[in-house]
Symmetry: C2
Subunit: 293 residues, 2 copies
């Protein structure tokens, strides 16, 4: 049996809209094994137990890319990445399926090739890059239409806290609320902040992160779509943390510089929002992995 | 006598428009000494030998900030940073004058305080930050109106070649030619490229620099104002280098990954443009300095 383990990912990170993503220590595992039937899927809602399942579609894409017959497969999902919450659940499916197919046929593809395939399926590399490679990633499509991906190590002094509302925020709505253009001065603002943020995450300088992460591109608009944004931001900042909207939400990610502050943010959030899921996370440094078991 | 040495600086670096700047190993020195007259200035055009001189104005600003009487001063300039060519000549004057005043009164100000004063005078920190601190700098004004400045070391494997046309490009014209706004997709392009560029300069990865530096914000518009831009770009790329417009031009800065390529770029440029000034440079890692001699 093949077991693929894929981390959740948190894209955008404030000023890194549509180009930055971070792998965090929250994992789903997906098992692939030979089956007597064409397709069996366990571990997800019944509505997804069919050929439209994104993991299976990525598995099929992998087989096709490798010019291999699509095997009868049983897929068993142990999912810990909440769906449609801005934590890269679709990247988990795509990366999981592609890596499953790759390992099924003895791993002819390296991670860069898997990244290219995954980006084609997802439409952008922001989540699939860190899901595959781990760490903080910045990605862009270069002048030759190749994906360029640069990994940054994040200081182990930083703790990440995923505060996951018990409601979704539709990606479509989160896109619609954005302006179409930005004045030049604000573009320089975004660029300067993002470059500084990447360095601040590397060095673990939370005071610099606190300033560098302040976005003018999507957070001011999307925060209005998350009813509890202001309340959670207050909790987070009272406890010394820095907050950003993970992906297009609804998850709010807090960054803290010590375990004590991180735990306080969780405890206080739980008090106000007892039905929210919370996770104390570190940065995943390895990215997705696969084993034969 | 006080001698202040200030490096030239190269702002923008392609995708770092109005927020990134690099200190390079081309220096002007400015001497300050007690004078019997209110003001004597040597080493510059006669039209600048008066109280409107930017070095003197910065010197006066420094004295005023320190609540000190403005001394009678003789200023002697040994200038190697060409004026109005996109190499931070005004930053040299401002930083030189402020540091001269600071050293005159026994250095009560640290470099961060000088940076704040210099930014107020210059209007932006892009040149004065690297001129004071050395290295690659990214700067932004934070939510409390403080200047945040982050320094990046640049790989010593990289060589910089300043190709300085024998004509100016007015900063005003270089501003007028720019659009006022940018669509969101291009903003993400700029941000992703700039973050990648900062890492590529740190690691000395010229192949990544070649892609990451490709700007859509000012270079496509300003390059049309520099008649020889395309010719020089061809020379540079033929010899393995990467070209960007330094500041708002007219200087074109080439980056090469070895001394041989850098020298070839100079030689070829000299062939086509014998009246241009060229300099083979490295990154200045210390910033402006002052000594009593």
């Amino acid at each position: 049996m093949i077991r693929i383990k894929v981390p959740a990912t948190s894209a955008n990170l404030g000023v890194g809209f549509d180009c930055m993503g971070l792998a965090v220590s929250l994992y789903s595992t997906i098992d692939f094994e030979q089956s007597s039937q064409k397709l069996i899927i366990n571990g997800c809602d019944e509505q997804f137990q069919n050929e439209q399942n994104l993991i299976y579609q990525a598995f099929v894409r992998g087989c096709q890319f490798l010019n291999q017959p699509i095997p009868n497969v049983k897929i068993t999902i142990d999912n810990h990445v909440p769906v449609s919450r801005g934590l890269g659940s679709s990247a988990v499916c795509i990366v999981g399926g592609l890596m499953g197919a790759n390992l099924w046929f003895d791993s002819p593809l390296n991670k860069e090739e898997i990244l290219t395939l995954a980006t084609e399926m997802e439409g952008h590399p922001d989540n699939v890059a860190p899901a595959i490679l781990g760490n903080l990633n910045v990605s862009f499509t270069d002048s030759l239409e190749n994906i360029q991906n640069v990994a940054f190590k994040v200081s182990s002094d930083l703790f990440f806290v995923a505060l996951i509302p018990n409601y979704q925020l539709s990606t479509k709505k989160a896109r619609q609320v954005l302006p179409k253009s930005m004045d030049y001065q604000t573009v320089s603002y975004q660029v300067g902040h993002a470059v500084a943020l990447s360095k601040a995450l590397e060095t673990g300088d939370l005071q610099l992160i606190r300033q560098a992460i302040i976005d003018k591109m999507h957070e001011p608009f999307r925060s209005k779509l998350i009813p509890d944004y202001s309340a959670v931001k207050s909790i987070c900042e009272k406890d010394g943390g820095v907050l950003y909207i993970s992906g297009s939400g609804s998850t709010l990610m807090a960054i803290a510089s010590n375990l004590n502050d991180a735990q306080k943010i969780i405890d206080e959030t739980k008090k106000s929002f007892p039905n929210w899921e919370t996770h104390l996370l570190s940065v995943d440094t390895k990215g997705a992995s696969g084993v034969l078991i």
